[in-house]
Symmetry: D2
Subunit: 293 residues, 4 copies
């Protein structure tokens, strides 16, 4: 049985290493990105660069997209630009389409509906694990959609990630992704508040980190971000502007369904303040800069 | 060399198992508690029950207190009640006094000043680790005070805990304890918000827990509290009313020094709401009830 | 000089009385509404009912729209539905278009750009004053756009409102409208918090109202809403779901430009909670129900 | 019938003009203040300066206190300092004691209990109206206590204020005072957020003020504070540190009784941030500096 052709749109910090893993696993790969030069290393490794998003979609047995936000995804799928838009209409009947961007559950369901109408199998499949996980092929996929469609796509997913969770019908993947990023953003913001309190009171932040790491509060994300906040080196691993966007999507969802999220709302304003006063692109641990102005 | 006599005031969920560990380690132990019957098992195991807080303090080479809040501690130390008050004045010159309650850093410093004036060696020594840690002798101590005084008290501390952190001068222990409880309270509240969002959107909370435990957001406290929230069984391990009190102390500190804590402030109101609408004593994971009303 | 023909799209609680005032002032009036029956009283009074939004727009020297939210406005202007969409393309060159909906400043600027490209004079012209002001012809208009275009439209505006503020270029009207609704929503939410505190402490809410009305805190909106909250009769004057939407637009704007709005964010979650737990359509004073659950 | 002797403790921005009005109304007046020189103008106008707080209290038919916060009041009433403390024990049986400080309802009730035990008639009688109202004799008094005691004190109250509200038993005055200051603080903070949004979006703050003053959002306090924020001249009329303290007292009350106050909690942190970063004493309208850092 020949491997299915995978097309991949969006070659950012996550997309590029995911593509390299698909190539390593032997999948024929067609790629497209707004800035074509980001495809160079992939083309060298055997990928074919499509001339447009549409052409990439047309070639796909399985299409994967991972772009920065809902408007970017809508543009790729339904936009009128001949180069960057219109991918959805080019998908073959029977193709699988998997979106790994983080977008609203409402958009995931809108895509699901349009897919059902055209005989396309859609999975909302956002990821977590960062660039490190993308490079190692150890991403965690949160998937909404039909179990059978997930099973069909599993070999492709397994090339990119180690943990593949089927969470419910379409929209479930994005809902739980937003909840997970809410949780990560609040853990980091909570540590920033704790650190601001301790240092503001005149004590060493290192002591707080030391105790935290010996306590029940220890978490994977704090092991990574606490030292970053102490050093103040905010080279982006996961950019603050994207975390801020995900918090906004989580709050939009909560407000649509009437579920109040008071601490998330408070934290989002703190992230917003730092976003507003920073010129460079910073990691989301830079939320601690709120107290450094 | 004979073991020093340890006196212990406050035989609650934490104090009693701590005392049993002191007895096991061979320390002569004098205990006192407002409700005397809580000392029964300790007396059976060899402790002496003092007739008053004052008498307990007078007998101590090392006095340890662990009571529920700042007013309770002030009453024990300086109150005029012949039975429950006046312990501080009864301490011998040269004695060590270690307070393991969670109180304000300001109160810790007030005690430190009074101790210095009387030749008493004071350590603020709040703990974390819960009743489980207290029983196993695996508490984590956060200590403010002189390094030499901590070294002198180390054998006693080691009978009760495995991790003993010297964090700075008096007040450092309480400051970092408040920051740690802020962090724990916000991690749990953040998970509650994530869970409210996921279940409010119609998906299974178990799925969120499963993903969380495979992710960077996993933490010791969430491993314990997430299942509690899913089941809704809030038998108190650490009571919500005490966590609420600690958040209030953290906010008081932040407001005294002008360090804003927006997410903590938001979360404290959520805990307050649950405290106000609950008649029984609940674990602080019951913050999730905010969304269940 | 004959009066210019005014076309009016959106015959809700505000639109209908505004139209009656235009008729009284002698303007030829063409109206359209999704539910045509809402035009009956206007047709009886001399208005012409257009067959579609497009037809209404085509007839206009001055087009006015007032619909419930940004998606509804985008649908009217650019939607593909033959009945309800496509109004923008039907506007004559040289026509004036005035939008009195509350939408994002970004959408106002998008319309302004599209208008400039087609030789249409656009004013963003949201209103405040409620149904009472709409009926009396005493609305307050907050206008963004060219001063000359406002002057040309003044006779039409004056038929509907008494206070006409020119606030800056396109977008200024919507920006200040969002800020004003933020202010009104927070004044009402602040009174609700004050009332919850007083009644929760066991005292009479009427006493708070009495003192408030004799104090510097008295405001027009509280004179109206305080008695409503005491009585608990939340017949919608300005519906909570629309105030919630406007708070969301204000927060979206703040988050886009990096201006933190902590109290607004907190209040929005409170409004959201009431929206989520209410089945009927309630006035925004019903935010007080947050404390009544 | 000779006029009763009034003793007055606390000659700050409010106390001094209140005393001048008492003198004008013909009351024999005994005054005391920590800094004695603040009594000079009163002594010139006929007041007697007591040598201690105790002596002032002993001379009183009616004692009035107005100090900055609960600890200051406890010190005056029950402190052991021979000069500044111990006033309560010196009060004559049958005297009336009226506290016009802003303190917790709990402290008001503690004083009420102690007063009942000693045959003293106690009113909690906090004021609003600012230095302007104090000078003009147009303060608003919020009174908790027995109606008969208020009637007996009415001539004294009327010398200082025009609006005298009997709100309930002891504690009612302080409760409603805290609710009123919560409301004023949030109105001002809400306007600051609105102004930050408008100016952050690039529009003129003056335009917002102009529209606000023509709208239902207009309030006495905003008429005064909006121009102050536009100018950035924060000469204290009501100092931010005192408003911050009152917000803290309101939040303490809410948290004791389990009434969540989310917007108040958010605003308090904003005030706290400005308090923490300001060296001078500023008016509470300076909360707008939060966005100017």
């Amino acid at each position: 049985v020949p491997q299915p052709t995978v097309s991949f749109i969006g070659l950012g910090l996550m997309g590029r290493p995911m593509c390299h893993n698909l190539l390593k696993a032997g999948f024929p790969l067609v790629v497209w990105n707004r800035t074509a030069s980001r495809a160079d290393s992939l083309v060298s490794a055997g990928a074919r660069l499509a001339a447009s998003a549409k052409e990439a979609a047309a070639a796909a047995d399985i299409l994967i997209t991972i772009v920065s936000d809902p408007p970017a995804l809508e543009e790729v799928l339904w936009g009128s630009n001949a180069n960057s838009g219109g991918a959805f209409a080019s998908l073959k009947k029977g193709a699988t389409y998997m979106d790994s961007s983080t977008v609203s559950p409402a958009l995931a369901r809108k895509i699901a509906q349009a897919s059902a109408a055209r005989g396309i199998r859609f999975l909302d499949a956002p990821v977590t694990g960062g660039t490190w996980g993308a490079e190692k092929g150890e991403l965690l996929f949160m998937i909404g959609g039909e179990a059978a469609d997930l099973e069909a796509a599993r070999p492709v997913l397994s090339a990119m990630g180690k943990k593949i969770f089927h969470l419910g019908p379409n929209g479930a993947g994005q809902t739980i992704k937003l909840a997970m990023n809410l949780l990560l953003a609040l853990e980091v913001d909570a540590f920033a508040e704790a650190l601001a309190l301790v240092t503001g009171a005149g004590f060493a932040g290192e002591k707080l980190t030391e105790v935290m790491q010996a306590s029940m509060a220890r978490s994977g994300v704090l092991d990574v971000k606490a030292p970053v906040m102490l050093k103040g080196d905010y080279t982006p691993s996961f950019p603050l502007r994207l975390m801020h966007k995900d918090l906004s999507l989580a709050l939009d969802l909560g407000n649509q369904i009437g579920v109040p999220l008071p601490a998330t709302a408070a934290a989002r304003e703190t992230y917003s303040s730092v976003k507003g006063s920073s010129k460079e692109d910073l990691d989301y641990a830079a939320v601690f800069k709120f107290w450094k102005k």
